[in-house]
């Protein structure tokens, strides 16, 4: 695992500007691809029931990574804080539901992109206060968005097609002759769909972040006055961050309901979820794509595993384990933040740096 940056000189800027300039990183990505595309779908995760590994760990983790990427773009890269993530994911989910029920023949990918766009528009509208206010006041404004939207998800019956249950539920729906969502869809199909979506969205986000638009977000984040004097319009930079971020969060919301849960009510988009996603971003590391992966996986997988181990190894009942895992997760979050306020991504970076110098630490 120890590898060095030296010796790989970049003769052309274009090579240096590539996503993974280091050869070793390319190998790492290759290994991850083999694992996620072949090994895991075939064998599941070691020591875990196959259905459980796919349905309770792999798919939700990937959905939450997209969610975390979305929030990280806003919070970590553009420095605009939001407590409305849960609600924006709901906008994506309800929009997707409306698109596939109003236009039953719509292509799923198109419906997904459109849902993301609807969420982006709503994100921009609720991002407008960011032009005038910062910090705590902006938190309050996004909190208002959170409560208003979850209220709408319950009260506006049109959103859930006047179902008696008040829930949105995925009908069976196919793409290219394969059932993609709904009760009859195969877990494997949904797994691959979410996996490919995740890879595409990660690639697009890393591109945007390294280019002109990503820089404009970081400029506003780091020093908004200087950014303005260099010619950045705060309006454009902030609202484009809200739009891009909400686009991701909306897609994640739609995936969450229709590719993982199967059905959902307004509760799935409440303030607790907003906090959950905030945890994921902060634990993983603000302003880091790798961090978004680590944060989402850590915050989702650790409690699930603790619960499983408690139940199967020690025979505790589910209710006790539920509370215990929450407490333990909270403790771990605090410890990590004390150790390294910049999150898991920074810890990983430091480890890599140490390995690079290995075996000579000085």
């Amino acid at each position: 695992m120890f590898y060095k940056e030296t010796g790989q000189f970049k003769s052309r800027y274009k090579d240096e500007l590539a996503a993974f300039p280091l050869f070793e990183d390319k190998i790492g990505i290759g290994i991850l691809c083999v694992l996620t595309f072949l090994v895991i779908p075939m064998f599941g995760l070691p020591g875990l029931n196959y259905e459980f590994a796919m349905g309770a760990i792999m798919i939700p983790c990937m959905v939450f990574i997209i969610m975390t990427l979305g929030l990280n773009i806003l919070l970590g890269f553009a420095g605009q804080i939001s407590l409305g993530t849960g609600a924006f994911s709901g906008v994506g989910a309800y929009a997707f539901y409306k698109f596939i029920t109003i236009f039953p023949d719509i292509n799923i990918i198109i419906a997904l992109v459109l849902s993301g766009l609807v969420s982006a528009v709503v994100g921009v509208i609720f991002g407008l206060p960011s032009l005038k206010i910062k910090g705590f006041y902006l938190i309050v404004a996004t909190l208002a968005a959170q409560f208003f939207l979850t209220w709408a998800f319950i009260r506006v019956a049109w959103l859930y097609n006047y179902n008696a249950s008040g829930a949105i539920e995925g009908p069976n729906k196919e793409m290219f002759g394969i059932i993609m969502i709904g009760p009859q869809s195969a877990g494997m199909t949904r797994y691959y769909f979410v996996l490919v979506t995740l890879i595409v969205l990660t690639w697009l986000a890393s591109n945007v972040i390294r280019g002109r638009i990503g820089r404009s977000w970081m400029m506003i984040r780091d020093m908004d006055i200087a950014a303005e004097l260099i010619g950045i319009r705060p309006l454009v930079a902030k609202l484009s961050a809200f739009a891009f971020s909400s686009f991701y969060i909306g897609i994640a919301g739609a995936l969450m309901v229709f590719f993982w849960l199967g059905a959902a009510e307004a509760e799935s988009f409440d303030i607790n979820h907003s906090f959950l996603y905030l945890f994921m971003v902060i634990i993983g590391g603000l302003g880091s794509i790798t961090g978004s992966y680590m944060g989402a996986i850590f915050v989702w997988v650790v409690p699930v595993l603790i619960k499983e181990i408690g139940k199967s190894v020690f025979g505790f009942d589910a209710f006790v384990m539920e509370n215990f895992s929450t407490i333990l997760l909270g403790a771990m979050i605090i410890i990590i933040l004390i150790l390294e306020p910049h999150g898991l991504a920074r810890l990983w970076q430091i480890t890599k740096q140490k390995l690079r110098l290995w075996p000579f630490p000085y």
Binding site: L204, V208, M218, E228
Partner: protein, 260 residues
């Protein structure tokens, strides 16, 4: 520079700037010739930084006019002023702390880049060509300012003198017509000051950039400046060549007599 008929690049006329009861600038007028190095000096709190803030649209004076390139400038926001080719550095360093040196310098090219979000998402074709083209220009500026060795270092961890230099690099990346420098050598040692002076002169002579410079070190001012404006308590005290200013009695009383 053409000695006979200097072209006036910028002119401020009768600027009055107040913050509530505090009068920061009071009836100040002066001009900046194309291609010159114009120093603005004066004791602490004289209104020098405020003047630069007025010029680049961050402060809006209650009275007064700003003429730029022979035209009266309407009230503008900072990002609009940036588009007219005015760049600046700050008295208190205002770098983007979370970014590396090269990224900070690249931010100076933002206005000249325009490929839309779809190309940016793909980072392919026009978007990457644009990125490479501007990256090359930035690398040249980094070479010029001799900060190669810190290209990939996050600027937050750099020593003060280098941060000032990165800030200059960022401003130069904008390829401005008028460069405003707010105490570019404050807090530097003699050697660093010499380097910075050399860069300022080279920018002025080689790129033909007009420079307005705030500086407390009189030796530096006498050395670099073509003409000097002296402010005191928000008022214009003197305006002329370094020699004229240096021998002006009011200036000696107000400023030079006081040790800094």
């Amino acid at each position: 520079m053409n000695e006979k008929a200097p072209k006036i690049m910028m002119e401020v006329k009768n600027i009055n700037l107040r913050f509530g009861g505090v009068v920061a600038i009071q009836g100040v007028s002066f001009d900046i010739h194309e291609g010159e190095i114009r120093a603005i000096i004066g004791p602490n709190g004289a209104g020098k930084s405020s003047m630069l803030n007025v010029i680049n649209g961050f402060y809006h004076p209650q009275e007064g006019e700003i003429w730029f390139d022979g035209q009266k400038r309407p009230s503008m926001e900072p990002y609009e002023v940036a588009k007219t080719g005015i760049a600046r550095t700050f008295q208190n360093i205002a770098l983007f702390k979370g970014m590396t040196t090269i990224e900070n310098v690249m931010t100076g090219r933002q206005l000249q880049m325009n490929k839309n979000i779809f190309w940016q998402m793909l980072r392919y074709g026009p978007a990457i060509e644009e990125e490479v083209q501007h990256r090359k220009r930035c690398e040249e500026i980094i070479d010029f300012l001799e900060i190669n060795h810190i290209r990939k270092t996050p600027v937050g961890s750099l020593p003060y003198g280098l941060q000032k230099r990165v800030e200059l690099a960022r401003a130069l990346a904008m390829e401005p017509n008028l460069l405003l420098l707010d105490e570019p050598m404050a807090g530097m040692n003699v050697e660093e000051k010499q380097d910075m002076s050399r860069f300022i002169v080279e920018v002025n002579e080689e790129f033909g950039t007009t420079i307005a410079l705030i500086e407390h070190d009189m030796a530096v001012v006498m050395d670099l400046a073509d003409r000097v404006v002296v402010l005191d308590y928000g008022k214009l005290l003197a305006d002329g060549t370094p020699k004229e200013v240096q021998s002006n009695q009011a200036v000696i009383d107000a400023y030079l007599g006081v040790p800094h």
